[in-house]
Symmetry: C2
Subunit: 348 residues, 2 copies
Amino acid sequence: MAERHVTLRDVAQVLGVSAGTVSRALRDDPRISPATRARVARAAEQLGYVPNAVARSLAVRASSILGLVIPNVTDPLHGQIVTAFEQRAVAAGYTVILASGLGDPAREQRALRLFAAQRVDGVALVGSILDQRTVQALVEPTPAVSVAGEHLALASPRASSPRGSVRVDDAAGMQAAVRHLLAVGRARIAYVGGPNVASNVIRREAAAQALRQALGDGRLRAFAGDWDVWRAPGPLAARIAAERPQALLCFDDKLAIALLDALRDHGLQVPRDLAVVGFDDIPFAALSNPRLTTVARPAAEMGRLAVEMLLEALASGEPPPSRTLPVRLVVRESSAPAARAVDTPPRA
Amino acid sequence: MAERHVTLRDVAQVLGVSAGTVSRALRDDPRISPATRARVARAAEQLGYVPNAVARSLAVRASSILGLVIPNVTDPLHGQIVTAFEQRAVAAGYTVILASGLGDPAREQRALRLFAAQRVDGVALVGSILDQRTVQALVEPTPAVSVAGEHLALASPRASSPRGSVRVDDAAGMQAAVRHLLAVGRARIAYVGGPNVASNVIRREAAAQALRQALGDGRLRAFAGDWDVWRAPGPLAARIAAERPQALLCFDDKLAIALLDALRDHGLQVPRDLAVVGFDDIPFAALSNPRLTTVARPAAEMGRLAVEMLLEALASGEPPPSRTLPVRLVVRESSAPAARAVDTPPRA
DNA sequence: CTGAAAGCGCTAACAG
DNA sequence: CTGTTAGCGCTTTCAG
């Protein structure tokens, strides 16, 4: 950006026309004669003219940029969301700028401030712990949508989804998982928690309730996790090995896979000794050994929808209504029936 | 971005000073009296002034934005690179804008053009198939660095690394892997390829050469892969099962893990029947069953370095010299010695 | 220490 | 169909 760039005026001068004309010609304004339009196009090409989006943004007061803040690109599910978001954004003529919050509210706020300064046209947050009000205050008047928000208030039973949020039916997923486990003969079920965020409590509660409904009393054992469970699942595995539940409902796939690994160290065989169910259906869930039964969250759909809601908000000026997406139980080896001890079942 | 934003002049007017003064005060220009600086700060705060980075960019002709194009955020290694890149960029006061090329040259070029229009201060490409010359032409005069470039010319033995590129010593990694396999008694080694990109041929050649050096003749069996190997490793696994090599050197971890899974379907046990080695050391490599031996690429270092080279180029005006980073062999269960058939070895 | 004025590159009325 | 004229909001000489 140091040296001079070719400017609109440069090409105008070469052609002996006005800058306005060149501008219009380049953006295919219908009232420019095809003849000059062609001349302009050629001249621009030859001079190596690259339009300055910054100047354009300033003039039209819109940047064609969407900001996305995500806890962690490294997470497979988040990665899929980012990909879908970016894809859809590009298709609509937008560029996306990215910031990772790492689950730290301060960082997320900083990112939002940055986006506001950059005058992005819209922002989306994924798995944010921030509440919608705080977000709005930071980016006003830019529309914002929250995908799979994790603000704890969202977990309360009577929480109404704030407008402009994409949610996933975690509770239904957990209920399906519980029913499945009961069907394969695993009634002594334990929930293995993750960090203390909305989805964690929603999933735990849903599992507990489903179990209560089916069995008539509340006997969901719960192992509490924290932000560190994924990295150090050893101690958790030890506690689990000691209690020997018949099935584990894990907060997410990463945790489930880490546990699959840690449980091996304790001599427990899945699914023979106990069943394990994950959440998300990340790509590796289908490749673990044993392959992981899990509740699939529609990652691509979440990313795509976020962009579409933003576009809608941009068009209408109103924050779009909230949407909640369905999940799907994917049954694999890790929750094979209790009766037949299956170690490496043949696959079709 | 629809409604009016508070502007510099707005706060100037409220205070009865000039816009220039407010501008200087806000950026802590030393020649503004502490008194007015404080007044300005307070007024800006109260009015909810959010500086317009777009206008600023236009004025200073620098955007404080770095563009990053990456094949696929979904890939664990790329995710780690993005994270490190973004982290380092933010630390240096930059925002990053992202585009995924999906391995498609056309998309990558489009992304670069977009970045150029956006007047990013620097661009980094990861695993790009584009050659440095093309890239430079598209973003001139913006500095560009290429990380783990995959342009096929890079694979030729006498290819000099173009300036401004971050490379990884793939060949050394493969040699270490071969030596390791020979040491554990697996001499009939096969290389399982990925898509036809530079790193794939470099790795294959390095493995072949290492084997030749050690054994005195060229007997590296090679299974060719393509862009689809990861999704459909079945047929590949069948061919491998038929040939029964003693060890598999895989193009990358994703492929290795997919094969681990597919080989199970063919009744082959790793490492008893054959050893498997991956490349990259993605997080799941440590959690697969069996845990995967692999050559670790320093993802975080790659992302960090890319930013630093860009900063250097920005400061000096020169493209920084190329750097090549070391890799590290990580031995795990999947390549346990051939003699002792180890299925689930105890871990410390 | 602060104000005035010019300009970054582009768009958008408004004339003609 | 095209030229002219103002800005968009901020920085930055140059005066004072």
